[in-house]
Each structure stands twice: as structure tokens, then as C-alpha cells.
Symmetry: C2
Subunit: 259 residues, 2 copies
Amino acid sequence: MSRKPKSDGEAYLTATLSKGLEVLEALAEVEEIGLSELARRMEISAPTLFRLLATLVASGYVQKSDSRYRLTLKSWEIGAKTVRRLKLREVVRPRAERLVERSAESAHLAVLQGAGVVIIDKVEAVQPVRVDTYVGQRAPAHCSATGKVILAFSPEDRVKEILDQSIERFTERTIVDRAKLMKDLAVARSRGYATNRGEWRADVSAIAVPLLDHADAVVASLSLTMPTQRFTDAAIKNAFLPALKEAAAAISADLGRAP
Amino acid sequence: MSRKPKSDGEAYLTATLSKGLEVLEALAEVEEIGLSELARRMEISAPTLFRLLATLVASGYVQKSDSRYRLTLKSWEIGAKTVRRLKLREVVRPRAERLVERSAESAHLAVLQGAGVVIIDKVEAVQPVRVDTYVGQRAPAHCSATGKVILAFSPEDRVKEILDQSIERFTERTIVDRAKLMKDLAVARSRGYATNRGEWRADVSAIAVPLLDHADAVVASLSLTMPTQRFTDAAIKNAFLPALKEAAAAISADLGRAP
DNA sequence: AAAACTATTTCAATATATGAAAAACCGCAA
DNA sequence: TTGCGGTTTTTCATATATTGAAATAGTTTT
């Protein structure tokens, strides 16, 4: 049932569909937009874009009013069905809530998806100073606590594959040297958690632990994210780490028992 | 910047894009699937589907492993950006949490989207018997409390437009008679809330109130959903309604003050 | 009321998508 | 092993859908 991987992976693509999906993605970046402006941005002719948009409207992905276009929630609905299959969230949610109570910081549940991680659930702490994150947000794997901890517990070839795609520098603290990064992951694996001090976004830090299934495979990560100012060694040692470990243990146990 | 509406709205569609989106939607219905089975379901030739899938894979919407296809979280990521723009959730979340504490039932935040409503946030109550709902779920407008209350407070021509598309019968309690439905909406408008006793899904009931912006336009609805058994007149009158009214008033005030 | 936009529509040239059929691959049974 | 019934992938000639220039139409600005 499986074929040998094709040498030329670029073949057999349908251009029109690609373009339509690009339109969708471009629309996600703006509140709303007119035809000609979008045509300029995408470097695509107006009539072509006009037809693509007409199709997206007809299919329910885009709303048009007064010749302005904006996304509907349709792609989100489709995605929600996918997310829902990850039972993970149901299991994690109550544990994450307790975690937030104990630590007073915001918890995130994230999974590896392509070359990065995606936040699939979040419990926000009541704090005057908060970090701007949202459910559905994508983060780079190599410079987020949540991504690094998943990589640390993933098979080595999988890690290499991902790092081949993405060791972009975001701040001066981003670890872009491959060897150093591998060492960082090794440390995370031996300690059982990963941290990130402003490696992705300046002044934002996080600590993350892996969530393991019955076979000890990592399926997601649980993290606490906060302004770097509150990310002190004392807090990590006395508050964050114990709370995370306990939550992760409970969750991993839940997952292990699940069918 | 606005054109006169076209008489023939069906023109100018690009078939390939439509088909590709249909593939996406079909994939959302299953955990994972092989090429030939999907081709049969969609009544589309195998080579064509093969190319569409290859494109979706290349664009990151679909994952392929061992000749089995499944959706990634990409469409959800795109949708999340859209949802995020609805600041609504941030405002509503804390109020909804208190609402759930007070009522001991699950709260839903929903917006009108096309011919139905979509749940954009949910706070689940701790109850041994719960109703199966999820964030991202679509519900019909004409037979859900949340949909009816939005319709009740919407301009009449907008309501007509929606009801022209969808008065499907789901249970024996679904109101499918147009006149009766309009009367039901009128009652909801005068009372300030709508209810649904098993009109959509048997044994599931709900009560919903509108969330109004500064201009008294309805932007969403807040509801409590539960097994019909717990949906007693006494509970509605003494617990659900007061709690909902209070929450809605607070939220509408919040929205009114917002820029 | 023209000028300067934007959005639609038309249309002929052309690039693209199409499905039949063939090839390649897989799991299984004899 | 070989062959069979299923799958997926590739090729290719053909039909078709897509394309952008240019014309048309509507809107806003000057």
C-alpha cells in the first residue's frame, strides 16, 4: 500500500488549487481587503484573483461585502474537527487549570505540526502583565520551550529532518548553531524539561515538559509562559517545575490508561 | 467601490479550486483515508484526486504517510487568526466562567455565520451527564437557542434570507412551519431570551440571551446547554435566566465601552 | 465633470486539468 | 515461488478550464 518516495516531489501539482489556498492564507493576514490591493500583494492578475475569490465565496470560505473580502470561520470549523480528534485537550484541560492555579502563570498545550508547534489549548493566568499568545498560534520548534521539549524526546532522525528546515534567528538569544542546539536538547532530555529565555520573542520565557503516551512516545507538551522578569531560578525550582511535573505525570498516566 | 450584484452569481468559478476544497472538507469527516476510498466517496477519478491531494500536501493542509491521508492543523491555524480578531472571546470568557459557576451548566458563546451559528468558545460545567458540543461546532440557526436568539434580534430581511436556506427538520420538536417560527422569534425578542427543548438534538435543551454592542446590534449569543432533564421551568426561572441576564448585561456593557 | 481609482466582463490564446489505460506496487493465497 | 485482486502512481493525447489584455462599468477624488 506504500510507494517508494518520488524523486521529483514537485510534480503532479494543480496550480489553481495552490493559488486558491494562497489566497486563503493571504486573507488570514488581514482584517479585510479589496481585490486590487490583494492582487498587488500576491502579484496575481485581477481577473484571476476575482475568479478565485468568487470560488472561495461560493464555497463558503470567504465573505464578500461591498467588494471587500474577509475570511469566514469555515476553515476554522474544518480545523476544529481535526483538533477535536486529539482527545488530548479534554484530558489536559482540568490538569492545566490546576497548574495555572498553582503557578499563577499561563499554561499552553502544544503539538508538533510540520516544522513547528501549534498551541492547541491555553489556560490564561490572571496577571497584570501577560504574554500575547493564542490558541491556534504556531511557534518555531527550535526556540520555544514547548518545541524544544518535544524535539528532545523525539527520535533523532525526526529531529534532524525538522532542524534541516528551520533554524531561523529571531533574537540574539536564539540558538542557531546546530551543535549547541543538539546539546541543549540533550540537556532537556536528561532533565526532563526545556526552557526558553527570550530565544523566540524578546522578554518572553517559558518552561515546558513532555506529555508521553503509553509507549513513552511524546505526543505534546505542556508549558508555562510568562514575561522573562518573572522567570526566576527560584520560581522555576520551587513553583513551576514541581507543578509542571505533577501535571505531566497525571496527564501521561491518563493517556497511558486510555484505549 | 461596490458593484451592483450580479444576476448570475454562479459564473466565474474555478472548478479545480472548488474540488480541492471539497477534498479538504471530505477529509475533515474522517480520521484518515486512502486514495481509492476517497475517490469512490467523492465520485472523482483517482488520478485527479491524486493530484489534488499532492497539492494539498505540498501546501501543508494534508499529511500523507504510507499512502494514507489526513488533515493537518493548517486550516485550523488560519481559522484561529480569524477567530482571534473577534475580541468577543476575551471579553466573554471571565463572565462565562462565573456564569458556569452560578448555574452549574455549560456555557457557549456563538456567532452567526452563514446560515447557522458557530460555537466560538465554551466553558464546560462539571456534570456527570453532559452534552456533547465543541468549540468550532456549527449549529442550525432555526432550532438552536443560540441561533434563534440571534435571529430574534436581527433585522427582518436578514432573518428571511437565512430561513429561506434552512428550515430542516431534525426532531419531531423542530419548528419547521415558517409562521410558527416567526412567532417563536417574536416571543424571544419580547422576552429577551430564546429556548430550545430538543428541537435540534433529542434530549438536549438550551437557553440563550443576545449579546448586544453599543448600537444595540446583536453580535453573538451566550447560552446554557444541558440535558433536557435538567431544563426545568423552576431552574430556568430561578437560576439560568437571572445568571444569563446578569452575564449578558455585563458583557454588553463591556462591548459598549470598547472602542 | 474630468481624472484616477477600483471592480467586472469579455474573449481568443494557451496552459492546465482530465481520465483511460498502463505500469508499478503490495498483501495474500496457493 | 507465482499469480491474483487490490491499491497507488505515471504517462499521454485530448478536451477544457484558466489566463491576462483590454474593454466596460462603477466609485471616489479633485
